[in-house]
Subunit: 446 residues, 4 copies
């Protein structure tokens, strides 16, 4: 049975045995390769607006859910959330990270899917072909980890993020809003269906329940879905976050960032740093192919606008709105006091090279807070370019499509800038209260 | 005689008398309203390039030249430069600032044109309808002053800037390069003409000399111009610098920045500052219509990317490449240490309001280093938006079209980023030598 | 009658008339010259401690009280406070600023003393010879104003500061603590008296009440004072805040900062600033008599450690503990990014000179937030040196003796660093709660 | 033979053999234990001055010389320098680091002394009991390494530093000045001797040459030394650089910084840093025993004023003059933008604790650019206090006595501040030329 092959690496032997118990057919961990192919949404421009509109051709089915690590109570929330999705929406398939899958597959009354762990410096296979929507339960770090699962994919599924404590900077929704938030995303673009919902007869025919035996590759139609409409032109709002395309090359010119010869996408930034060596590093910086300067510093950050509020900010960089198409070059503790943070057009290639003058080989290269392994040291080169998020045909592709709030907690339409200004207030402790400060969860950032 | 009316305000009585001397007809100062209408160039995109190409429909004729103040030797340079243009190029008309016009019109053997001084907070009338090209002799301050002459115009003529000492950040050319530089700009776009030049017969017919009696409104053709071709596809490169559209409103809602009900364009920035009051100011900041924070500070800067290397940099802002479509909000000496500089999309409206909590009325508002006068104080509001530089039809309009180097001093083609990286090196004393360091002129910045 | 002469400048005519009413003899405003001479305390070192101990030779009598301006309710607090002092402590004389004196002298049942307003750039005459103790009701600004009343005195009386809203950085006490706080200060050093208090017989003889007819120049003895002892070695703790000695000289070498040829003392800082001129200023900086650099900037701050948390902090300076004997040189928005804030030994003379290169004459010079008037401009020179607070004989003199908390609200002995660390937490919103956060007063800083 | 025991660890086998060659008795490496005990100078206050005066009781004999690593030509300079000392001054003994000793002992015609390498986190045994004077050939890093050889000694010998390329911040002398500089130091305090030199008869008796057979423990007298006097009151100037006393303790309370239970002295700083871990560290900061804040950052620096121009400056700290008695607490890339660098009194104890919230155990602790090894991680504690440099008896002890210039290159007396202001100019590229810019050595900083 093919399944055994898949589930073994991720389950403890004890759990693996149980899979064959006759009474718990659904308690198995299935491989994502069993799932129907992904449903790709489109992102439409809205008049006079900078945020995009999410439009599903048919309802999303394959939902990847990631959760924060080392957090008490988080597994209960995961079970609550997946159970709600599975019982409320027809044809929903739950994909979990291998660890989470092992943890809960025996407890929940529906099958869970998972994938094989990623190779070093790589991303899990097939995941980007099978995932319709990503939901994260946690903080910014959880979103970064989710995004790293698609670090070699050009088309990342939309990401819906729930904060489990204080709202982070990248997150948007409180966990207790999950029912409303998921419905808003799920129904986004189903305007025709809504019309039908409103007609009384539309409720007579119940949607065909999906069963494990059903062929999975027949997409659902919004016509089959019952439920309360969200309002005919209420669609989920998308902030398309540009990423960085990063190539890391060893002293001998071999690519380090990926075993397949491919760039890695970063959501926040790439960092070159002295790491455990107590000495300054000397980094040659090239902008647009031209030598700019020799940076003598702890290290160097190349950040996206999204990452401007992360490490780059701590290192003295400005806060850049995610819709400013740009790259940030921010030195970390530079010796030269006049080496100030730079903001460059997104399409400017930047190269960092670790020259011969450096002592020792120790150096840390990390993408979005995850270290790259292997072959670091003198002669190494990091090449970065901003990701294009608009195709030549004018379609919006790439980036991390992040679902942001369109209304406040009590149904008021929010303005375009609200999600960002609100986040800034939370980050910088500015004086504007954003939503209710959910201090009862007792959380801290992350 | 109409002329007298014009020249009087700008000349000392002694000079004015001389205008009527019969032997010095050309020594008069003429009003710019006598000039033919402006020749508007277009700015073409070049394949794989971010800088634009300058394309004249017919050779430029009306040349405005501004010079730095209080600088020894600068008048001699002005005379040398205008004399060269006038004697080398057919049909050239020299426009000078009123002060310069008074100073040299008796010395040079050609007529000079000038305009009436601008009203308070305004720009000189007619200037933007008559000027084909602006040349500045000086530093960044001279460029700013030139740009302020077009602070109410949507279409600024191309600007060619010569440094008189050390090269500033906005300037590009050394004065000793003026012949080559002007020719490059003058011929830009005349590709057909070039072909003809190369043919021996093209030189036989001399261009018709323009005389004061000639009707001025018949444009020249490149076919009429003799001279050495620059090479058939050598066009001048344009960096289109976005400006800010600024409205300043008094406590009672009346517009202060301009007597006509119009926004003022800023090249660098607009500054709201405590000025001579020794106390902190409290400025309410709105981004995209939403209240962001109450800034308690010396003041607040809203800057263009061009201005990012000016006051904003001294106040802790990042250096933003002029092609990153954005606005910078940089607080000056804020009490809140977490009020960090922000970079926002160019199309985000920003409003600064001086609230009731402020003591006293004193406040300084300045645009590009020039104070605005009248009605400042509590209740005042500054509204800013980035300028659109691409029309809906895809044409490049607006901005300050700055002519940057396409080749280095000895004819080598420069890369796209070179002019900016080079300027940065000069500004920050980075280690890349840009052109030869012309220290012999003994100049300092400005 | 001499008194009339004094009260006139500070009272409205209507109030002045009432002075002569026979029934309200005490409702008059008296000149401070009528007061007995000041009682000077000494400041003793405590074993293993950095804060000093306040020791009165005899109980303080002449109490100057200043209050914040433009603050609702503050006059009521002033009346409450002065009434308490006057009715509780024998022989107390209340000194008020002229404005406050006019405001309340008719309401309170005891005489109030005041002084003639200070000459331009000067301090009120006689005040430092007559004041035993200063109490401030307000915020940091009120403390600064109080300190400016002694800006030409070498020996400032101890300062007890009550916050009327949120606690400022220089303040220490909440207004509602005033009874306990004043008693602690009043009794400080009366250890012998305490012993007597504890003996039952000590209470039998009531202290002789002072009456207006009594000769004022006979000092009280702690033996005459009844009341609850504070504990035999409970003395008020003094933080001796070093000041700056500042001389400002006009282009022609004449002293500007004072009509008498004397330095002015600053508690926070002296600032040289471009003021209302929109252009950079060029300031030559000399350290220890040696030319350091030409600062091109908005201006320059020379600050005491006390001032390090004020303007200098907003301009990028470090936070310096008030007991680090030093001067700070902090540039305001300097063009040179490598001109970083400097911390120098307190005994290093620093000179700032406004050189010939500056355009225009406009410049703002201010001490502790008060502008200096007259003769500013090119050629001006500011000379600064730290104040010595320990005499050659090892006595503590000079500085602003600030009374800080020795115990928390509920009687727990505080550690040496507590007052400063607590203040820092309040200023920077660090995470340590200092006392209870008295948000009910609804105050803001100042 | 005892010697073999010493030289073995530091020589390659091939070199060790040669020691026994009969013809090269002087080519041996001797243990420092063979040397006479150290001659301790005193440091005298000069009237109206902040720099101290060096006073030898008898001429220094045991000279430790350290040199920069990996620098071409440096060994030649070492040989030149030691040969000069050995041939010019009677009774001079040359101490070298083990590596240098191996490298040159066969080449030079005099014996060299060395010591056993230091244990982990420790300093070499006996060195501080035997060394009269330290000379460094290199840059700041070489001075730091020399100082680390005395990191467990309370009395560091005076340090005379020669720059081999560009002058660093801690260094003072150019290598080509070595003859004059050494003589100035050597003769410092020998005022009586000078008098004698001037008398003609003083030159008649040649100084007794020291031979290896002589008892080494009889100190020389200045009377025995021939040579040109420096001028009767010309003494070397000492800048006494305060150090930090540092204790590092593991999670279980055991001391890590030293095997013997002793604090380590740091000249620049101690750094706690995330090292190779790509995640933020959470450091609890205690000031004067009181919890200040939880620093969430890359790490934390506690620096001396001397170190203020090193790592702390790159991290945003102010520049603090070495004579300001203080400690700096400078966070590295803190998340909280309001965590600004602090300057505290030198006698304030500071503790950093790595709390339970930190993930993983990885952490880097380094002192003056040298990593500490062993037991780092959660629970670790760093305790720091400034070193006292004035004993209760008023003597100057401790610190690193750094010999600074008293005259410029051509004999002009320098002012007190000159050495520091000059260094600052060099560091920050301010505009004051300090000595001649010796660019011909082609050096860079280090
Ligand atoms: N000194 C610093 O500020 C450092 C920051 N980082 C940042 O941490 C990120 C990795 O995050 P974790 O794995 O959770 O590591 P982590 O445990 O080091 O936490 C990073 C912190 O940054 C916040 N954060 C992450 N992305 C953000 C964003 N785009 N805007 C605002 N805040 C953001 C998180 O909420 C969290 O508080 C990296 O991408 C890097 O940006 C990493 C090392 C040092
Ligand atoms: N503290 C500061 O840094 C201040 C800066 N300014 C700047 O001065 C400008 C006005 O210039 P001036 O009339 O010449 O006054 P100015 O005499 O105050 O000189 C301004 C300096 O800024 C430089 N500068 C101007 N624009 C620049 C740019 N875009 N990039 C880099 N450097 C630039 C000039 O070369 C000159 O050195 C204002 O637009 C403002 O940006 C004005 C006041 C204070
Ligand atoms: N951009 C800035 O930060 C500016 C600061 N100032 C400061 O204001 C002071 C004058 O105060 P006000 O008359 O009340 O004027 P103000 O109304 O301008 O308020 C100054 C603010 O600084 C605070 N402050 C004053 N001294 C302080 C200290 N030593 N430590 C911490 N905070 C302190 C006050 O609480 C108040 O919030 C000046 O001495 C100067 O230090 C003055 C102008 C600009
Ligand atoms: N980002 C940064 O600025 C970093 C600085 N460092 C500093 O390096 C020092 C160790 O020096 P090396 O072993 O040579 O390592 P290194 O090769 O990392 O060079 C350190 C640089 O700092 C300079 N320096 C050292 N002490 C100085 C001082 N007191 N004032 C001014 N400049 C100074 C040196 O000249 C050299 O340019 C550490 O004590 C630490 O202060 C260490 C790591 C990072």
């Amino acid at each position: 049975m093919k399944l055994v092959h898949v589930s073994r690496p991720v389950c403890s032997p004890r759990l693996a045995t149980r899979h064959f118990s006759t009474t718990a057919r659904r308690r198995i961990i299935k491989p994502i390769t069993d799932l129907p192919d992904r449903t790709k949404p489109s992102f439409l421009e809205r008049p006079d607006a900078t945020l995009l509109s999410l439009q599903w051709p048919s309802p999303p089915r394959n939902i990847l859910i990631t959760k924060k690590k080392r957090t008490p109570g988080i597994t209960d929330s995961l079970i609550e959330y997946t159970s709600h999705l599975s019982s409320t929406y027809p044809g929903i398939n739950i994909i979990l990270e291998p660890e989470s899958a092992s943890e809960i597959h025996e407890i929940v009354p529906f099958p869970v899917y998972t994938y094989e762990p990623a190779p070093p410096n790589g991303a899990p296979a097939h995941l980007s072909d099978k995932t319709d929507l990503v939901c994260t339960l946690g903080g910014d770090g959880t979103i970064l980890r989710a995004s790293s699962l698609f670090s070699h994919a050009t088309a990342v599924p939309p990401v819906l993020s729930f904060a489990m404590g204080t709202i982070g900077f990248l997150g948007e929704w409180k966990f207790r809003e999950y029912k409303r938030a998921f419905r808003e995303v799920y129904m986004s673009g189903a305007s025709d269906a809504y019309a039908k919902f409103d007609a009384p007869e539309s409720n007579t025919r119940p949607p065909a329940p999906t069963s494990p035996d059903d062929p999975l590759d027949k997409p659902l139609s919004y016509a089959d879905i019952r439920g309360k409409a969200m309002g005919s032109n209420r669609t989920a709002r998308i902030l398309l976050r540009n990423r960085l395309k990063v190539g890391v090359f060893g002293p001998d010119g071999t690519r380090i960032n990926s075993s397949v010869d491919q760039d890695t996408y970063a959501l926040n930034e790439i960092v070159v740093h002295r790491g455990a060596s107590p000495h300054l590093k000397i980094v040659d910086v090239f902008v647009g192919g031209r030598f700019l300067t020799e940076g003598v510093a702890d290290g160097m950050i190349i950040s996206s606008p999204t990452g401007s509020t992360a490490y780059s900010l701590s290192s003295g960089g400005s806060i850049v709105h995610p819709l400013v198409s740009s790259l940030l070059l921010t030195p970390i503790c530079p010796r030269s006091l006049s080496f100030r943070p730079l903001v460059l057009p997104a399409n400017t290639p930047i190269t960092l090279r670790l020259g011969e003058k450096n002592r020792g080989r120790e150096v840390e290269v990390s993408i979005d807070g995850r270290s790259i392994t292997g072959g670091m040291g003198v002669g190494m080169e990091v090449r970065v370019l901003g990701e294009h998020v608009k195709s030549d045909a004018g379609e919006w592709v790439g980036g991390v499509p992040s679902i942001v709030r369109g209304t406040d907690g009590i149904g008021m339409e929010l303005k375009e800038q609200d999600h960002w200004v609100g986040g800034l207030n939370a980050l910088l402790k500015y004086n504007y209260p954003f939503g209710d400060q959910d201090t009862s969860d007792g959380g801290g950032r992350t």
